[in-house]
Amino acid sequence: MSVAVVDTGGRPKAVWRRGILASRKGRWGFGILTVLALIALFAPLLAPHDPNAIDATRILAPPDLAHPFGSDALGRDVLSRVIFAYRVSLGVAVGSTLVAFFVGVPLGLYAGYHGGWVDTAIMRPIDMVLALPAMLLAVALIAIIGPGSNIATLAIAVIYMPILARVVRSSTLVVVAQTYIEAARARGTRTPSIITRHVLPNAIGPAIVQATILMGFAIQIEAALSFLGLGVQPPTSSLGSMLADGRDVLTQAPWVEVFPGLAIAITVLAFNLLGDGLRARLDPKGVTE
C-alpha cells in the first residue's frame, strides 16, 4: 500500500469511513462483523427453532436439512442455540470493552496530559491491576460477587480498563509534546478545550485499534469464564457454556462442540482483521500492509 494514507480528511468521521474501508483486511473485518452483528440483533427472527426446546427424539442427532448444525445431548437445535449464544457473547464482549474504553480513556488522557503527581496517582493503581493475571482477576471478582453475564462483563472491563488507560496515556504523552498543543495554549485556549478538542482526537487512534482487538479477545475470555461455569448461567447459554456442554460428547457428536467453536474463531478473526486494518490507517509507521 502506498502513502495515500496521509489523506484521511483529518476528521474522525473520515478516518472511520476511509480508514476502515480503504484496507482489504479492514473491509473483511468490517463486513464479517456487520453480518455477525445483524445475526445477533435479529436472533429471534433468524433462529429456525426455539433454542431451549428439548426434543427427546433428536438427542445428538447429526446435521440434516432442518437442523444444519445437528442437535445436542438434550435434542436442542445447535444452530438456534449458537445464534442466541452468539448474541450473549457479543453483548458481553462489546459491553465490557465499551465500559473499559469510557473509563480507561479519560483516565489515561488526564494522567498523560497533566503528568507529575496526577499521573502517578492515576497510573500506579492501574499498573497494580495490570500486574495481576487477567483470568485470575476475573475469577476472583466473580468469586466475590457471584456469576452471571453482567458480572462477566464487569470482570472483563476491569481487566481491559488498565490496558486502554495505558495506551491512551502513552499516545497522549506524544501528542502533548507537539507544537500544535503549545500553539493552542499560546492562543489562550482553556485547558479543558485543549484536552477535548486537540489532545483527544490526536491521541485516540491507538486506543480505538486496541479496543477493537480487545473485543475479539473478550469473546474468548467470556467463553473461558462460561466454560468454567462462571459466566452466563443456564438456561441462557453463551458460546463458552456451549463448549462446556459439548465437551462430554465430543467423540460421538462433534457438531455440538465444533459450531460454537467456529463461531468464536470467526468473531475473533473478524475483530483482529478490523483492528489490523485500522492500525494500518491510523499508525503512520504501519502504512505497509
Binding site: G10, Y180, I181, R187, R197
Partner: protein, 335 residues
C-alpha cells in the same frame, strides 16, 4: 513612542539532572509600541526560551526571575488564568514551523475561530465570519472553501498565513514571531515578511521577530537585539548594527556573512564553541571566543547606553565601564 514591553533582569533556568541550565541570563530590554524588534542570535542562545517565558508557556522545570512589564502588568506575577486571558488576545505568538503548529485533525478555519471564542463571548457563526475575514486578510484564496480543510491540504506558505491569522485574530498589541520564515522557501519568506510589515502598518501591532537570519532583520526590523548564550550583548537600530557593530560578537557575526567579493569556499567562522550553559563562563559568556578578551571579562558586563539608542554590554565600551562602576558602587553600598 511609548514602551509596550519592558524586561528587567530576566533569568531563565531549567532544572536538569546535570544541574541548572542557565538559558537566559540577566536580560533587560525595552520594546516600543508599534516597532518591529528583531531578536537575533544563533540556535540555542535563548531567543525562543525568552519568548516562551513572556507567554508563560515554559514547562514547570523552568524558573523565571526578574520582571516583565507588559502594558502596566507584570507578566511574571500574573495568576495563570489572567495570563491565559492575555495570551492570544493582547499578545500572541507565531511559531517557527507551520507544518507542526497547526492541529492536523482540526479544520484550519476553526483554529482561527477558536482564538476568538477563547476570549470573546461571541456566537459560533460570528466567530466563523470573523475567521473568514482574517483568512482572506492574510491572503488565503477562497477562504470560504478552505475553512473546513485540515492543515495538510495547504502548502507551507498557506499554513503560515493561517498561523498568522490565528495570531492576529483578536488584534493583539504584541506579536512574538518565532522564526516565522525559517521553515519556508525564499519566495514564500518574502511574502510572509511583506504580510507582517503590512499588518504592522494597518493594525499598529508591535512585533518581536525572533530569527537567526540577518537578512530578514535587515529587511523588516526597526531595532535589533543581539543575544549570545543567553545574554543580551547589543541593542541598536537596524542600520546602525550593520554599519557600526560595537560588540565583538556582533562584529564576528556580521563578518561571517558571506559577501559577493569573497573567494568561493572561504567562509569566515567564529573560532571556538558555544559554552555549556550548565556551567557557563563567569562574566561575559562570549569571553571564551572573544579576540579581545581581558581580565575584566570574568565580571558580567552590564548593558549600557553608548548613545541614546545604541546599547552594548562589553568591557571594551566606556559606557559599560561607567555602568559597571556604578553597579559596583551600589552593590558595595548595599552590602
Amino acid at each position: 513612542m511609548s514602551d509596550l514591553l519592558t524586561l528587567a533582569h530576566v533569568d531563565v533556568g531549567f532544572a536538569t539532572d546535570d544541574g541548572t541550565v542557565s538559558a537566559v541570563s540577566d536580560v533587560s530590554l525595552t520594546v516600543h509600541e508599534g516597532e518591529i524588534f528583531g531578536l537575533v542570535g544563533e540556535s540555542g542562545c535563548g531567543k525562543t526560551t525568552l519568548a516562551m517565558a513572556l507567554m508563560g508557556l515554559l514547562p514547570t522545570s523552568a524558573t523565571v526571575t526578574g520582571s516583565v512589564r507588559f502594558s502596566d502588568r507584570d507578566l511574571l506575577d500574573l495568576p495563570a488564568e489572567q495570563l491565559r486571558q492575555l495570551r492570544g488576545d493582547r499578545m500572541s505568538m507565531i511559531f517557527q514551523d507551520p507544518m507542526t503548529s497547526l492541529d492536523p485533525t482540526f479544520p484550519i478555519g476553526e483554529q482561527v475561530a477558536e482564538t476568538i471564542t477563547a476570549h470573546r463571548d461571541v456566537a459560533k457563526h460570528a466567530a466563523r465570519e470573523r475567521a473568514l475575514a482574517l483568512l482572506a486578510d492574510v491572503g488565503i484564496p477562497e477562504a470560504e472553501r478552505r475553512y473546513d480543510d485540515p492543515p495538510h491540504r495547504l502548502s507551507g506558505g498557506m499554513r503560515q498565513r493561517v498561523v498568522i491569522a490565528t495570531a492576529l485574530a483578536n488584534e493583539p498589541s504584541l506579536v512574538l514571531a518565532d522564526e516565522p520564515t525559517t521553515a519556508l522557501d525564499v519566495t514564500i519568506q518574502s511574502q510572509v515578511l511583506d504580510l507582517l510589515r503590512d499588518l504592522r502598518k494597518r493594525l499598529r501591532t508591535t512585533i518581536v521577530l525572533i530569527t537567526h537570519d540577518l537578512g530578514v532583520v535587515a529587511q523588516i526590523c526597526d531595532r535589533v537585539g543581539v543575544m549570545y548564550a543567553g545574554q543580551l550583548v547589543e541593542v541598536a537600530p537596524v542600520a546602525e548594527i550593520f554599519r557600526s557593530p560595537r560588540h565583538p560578537y556582533t562584529q564576528a557575526l556580521l563578518a561571517a556573512l558571506p559577501s559577493g567579493q569573497q573567494a568561493p569556499g572561504s567562509l569566515r567562522v567564529i573560532g571556538g564553541r558555544v559554552p555549556n550553559l550548565t556551567n557557563p563562563p563567569p562574566g561575559c559568556r562570549f569571553s571564551t571566543r572573544c579576540p579581545y578578551v581581558m581580565e575584566e571579562c570574568v565580571n558580567v558586563p552590564p548593558l549600557a547606553h553608548e548613545t541614546d539608542d545604541h546599547l552594548i554590554a562589553c568591557w571594551l565600551s566606556d559606557a559599560t565601564k561607567d555602568a559597571g562602576r556604578h553597579d559596583h558602587a551600589s552593590a558595595g553600598g548595599a552590602a
